[in-house]
């Protein structure tokens, strides 16, 4: 399972990006995206913003669950009160399109891991917890007197916190 997490500002501008892999089921926490996928992922995430804009007015929840799918890439969304979007692209390793990824060896065990089935309630819950923790830290970033809305988040502490949340829940 590989993840690409991005925070998108109100002007559809990226504020923060982070790639990681699962730490559950013996995962090493490294993303296994192919070289081209790095760019493709950004594209896929960005294109899902249109759907977010439709869904966000029919559902007042912060966590909008899986809102888009592009081949084997699933996109979960969390939208803050200030209309900043957290997007998480997750790609089950079992059917990884990445040629160089260590997918084949993990096929059997990923069937039981979080995220093997991207739309299962367990996965939804895990991602929800991940988003909730990132949201807490995002609000702290916002409360900094040196931060203004739509500024890129450069804090290394914030990055560490996101990484920790990823390790904890995903």
């Amino acid at each position: 399972m590989s993840y690409h997490f991005a925070i998108i500002g109100t002007q559809d501008n990226p504020l923060f990006e982070y790639e990681f892999g699962t730490s559950k089921q013996g995962g090493d926490g490294q993303a296994r995206f192919s070289e081209q996928a790095h760019h493709l992922n950004q594209f896929v995430l960005h294109s899902s913003l249109d759907i977010v804009e439709e869904v966000q007015w029919t559902n007042g929840q912060l966590y909008l669950k899986v809102i888009d799918k592009f081949f084997t890439n699933y996109i979960s969304c969390f939208i803050t009160a200030g209309n900043v979007k957290f997007l998480l692209l997750h790609q089950p390793t079992a059917t990884a399109t990445a040629p160089g990824g260590g997918g084949s060896s993990t096929t059997t065990r990923s069937s039981t891991s979080v995220g093997a089935n991207p739309t299962s309630p367990q996965t939804e819950e895990a991602i929800k917890n991940f988003f909730a923790e990132v949201y807490d830290n995002y609000v702290k970033a916002v409360m900094s007197p040196f931060y203004r809305v739509n500024m890129e988040i450069r804090s290394p502490v914030f990055r560490q916190r996101v990484a920790a949340a990823g390790r904890k829940y995903l």
């Binding site: 594209f43 200030g82 970033a141 914030f158």
Partner: protein, 218 residues
């Protein structure tokens, strides 16, 4: 979408030019809810606000510009409080305001209680049929004006323009772009009962009403 930062893999690498507090505690180490019920001195706020008004007053050409500057000082506070106050809600009622009424209730109750320790006094919709986009939040005694006497030659001014800016920040942040202005109405309607009575006039942009109509249908 552009790449952010040079190293995607080397994530936690320290960035140059960043300074840490000597105890190593950053804003990320502080709990979000600790100051939820904290109080602070009204005097210290009064002196601070007095300096803010004096600062905004420097080299302004008119009262409108002065109110505009006060409004701008409040705007970022509104944007930030929107996120903070929603995270402090219990998880069950943690929903984004989707309608104008929900948003105004959030302002009247949550925002006011957080800032001033009580709810706003009244919420009204403009009775003018030509202005369906106008709503009014009424505060009988704005806390920011508690010690302020506006000189006669500036009688148009209401320093609660700062609070109007905060409201505007909340509305803009929640994707309900609006213009918010503060107007003194004390002494006109209800006599001398509330001499500092202030109406915050919230005028939403046309697209907000359009969307509201669409959501109502669907």
């Amino acid at each position: 979408m552009a790449h952010l930062g040079p190293g995607k893999a080397a994530s936690s690498k320290e960035q140059a030019g960043l300074r840490y507090p000597s105890n190593g505690k950053t804003i990320y180490h502080r709990p979000l809810n600790r100051t939820k019920t904290a109080e602070l001195s009204q005097s210290s706020f009064a002196y601070l606000f007095s300096e803010m008004v004096t600062y905004a007053q420097r080299r302004v050409t008119g009262i409108q510009e002065l109110e505009k500057r006060l409004n701008l000082q409040g705007h970022p506070i509104g944007l930030k409080l929107l996120d903070l106050l929603l995270t402090r809600e219990p998880p069950r009622s943690q929903t984004r305001p989707l309608t104008i009424i929900a948003l105004l209730h959030f302002i009247k109750i949550n925002l006011w209680t957080h800032l001033f320790g009580r709810q706003a006094d009244r919420l009204e919709k403009s009775s003018d049929p030509d202005a369906p986009d106008e709503y009014m939040i009424v505060d009988n005694e704005p806390l920011v004006n508690a010690y302020i006497s506006v000189p006669r030659e500036m009688s148009q001014l209401n320093c609660a323009a700062f609070v109007a800016g905060i409201i505007e920040g909340v509305c803009d942040g929640a994707m309900f772009p609006a213009r918010v202005t503060a107007h003194s109405v004390g002494g006109k309607e209800e006599g001398e009962m509330w001499p500092g009575k202030t109406v915050f006039l919230v005028k939403f942009q046309p697209e907000v009403l359009e969307r509201e109509a669409l959501i109502g249908k669907g």
